[in-house]
Symmetry: C2
Subunit: 216 residues, 2 copies
Amino acid sequence: MRMAELSSRTGVPVPTIKYYLREGLLPPGERTSPNQALYDESHVRRLKMVRALVEVGKLSIAAVRDVLDAVDAPEKIPFNVLGEMQDRLGPIHPEGSGELWEQADTQVRELLRRRGWLADPDCPPARSLVAALATLAELGRTDLIDLVEVYADAAELVAKVDVTKVVRDQGMDDVVEGAVIGTVLGETMIIALRRLAHQDATARLYGVDRSGGDDE
Amino acid sequence: MRMAELSSRTGVPVPTIKYYLREGLLPPGERTSPNQALYDESHVRRLKMVRALVEVGKLSIAAVRDVLDAVDAPEKIPFNVLGEMQDRLGPIHPEGSGELWEQADTQVRELLRRRGWLADPDCPPARSLVAALATLAELGRTDLIDLVEVYADAAELVAKVDVTKVVRDQGMDDVVEGAVIGTVLGETMIIALRRLAHQDATARLYGVDRSGGDDE
DNA sequence: CAACGTGGATAGTGGAGCTATCTGCTATCG
DNA sequence: CGATAGCAGATAGCTCCACTATCCACGTTG
């Protein structure tokens, strides 16, 4: 198919597809002459993937490129791709400094040690956690810090199922792709569900029913 | 204190503070003359809060303003503030269309009904969930859809603890503020922990140890 | 063979989040 | 009292991002 069809099949405007091609998010089509090219199903799929990461996952274009490069890399082991991905999926939280940050850093290392998690205490996710804990302390809400244990329980539960689900009877390609999709869309779903569950928990506590009620 | 001290106490540059004042993220200082103003501890606190939401929570300036307006509103009930907040905390996922979206929409309503959650099936979080599910279907990864049940279990667990923790022996002001902080920073922590747990689960599966090892 | 469509290159757009400059005014120190 | 340094506020500018619009020469198609 040509670009116009690629566009209509995915709902992405032609100029945007050109932009993605320039940015290396989409591999070039098969050229039939110096200024004509054909695209196939793999392009459709890739383009949907890009849109999913950009629209639902709110990734930057640069992050999408990096992630997809990792997906395409030969010799890919899910474990490595996972690391690459996490390094790129950002957001990167700026390093803070001060006693509060050091305490938070210690808390995180301690948490990983205590739970026996085989995880890098210097990777971006760990830094995010440190930043969040330090910020809690800075805001004087140390009372909220022990929530992290509950979150860790939940994360452990979820991650186990995630991994077994993504790995089950699939070729390597599907596993890697599933890891990307699962990580990004999974986060969206988890956050959304937590907020919905907050509505429920708060509604029960205060005796209000927002479900099905009129909007406002 | 004057603006320079407010700046040094929080690490936020003076021009940025001025910008936040213009944008209404920070209430104006108490004026002592047409071109002099004093700021107090409440400004320090507010500024830290703004930075927490912007840097750690990755909220837009507009979202921060909206959230803080809701926090400041009189007659605030945590339940209402929670709703306001969720409407503002975005990201808003664009409405999709087509059969896939309708199926996803049904799935979400079904999920809420089945679990008996008192939550609005048309609120932004529910829309996010629909978008994620529809996108999964669009990408042909319907195998990942039943993960949502596990996520819902985890969300239920987490939300219950969140709410009881935030509400425990606090004045209304602290509850509302805690809800904001807890929602935003909690999300950061949960995502970070899930990624760390993924590292662990993948490392165990493939027999690799990334913890404490050399970087790369 | 003529008109519309195409791929590629280049430049422009609009929004977000600051940042720099300018202009009076003011606190303060000698 | 007066020089000087700092202050608040207004305005304009900057950089980055994600597109979007315009050109152009060539190609496909009726």
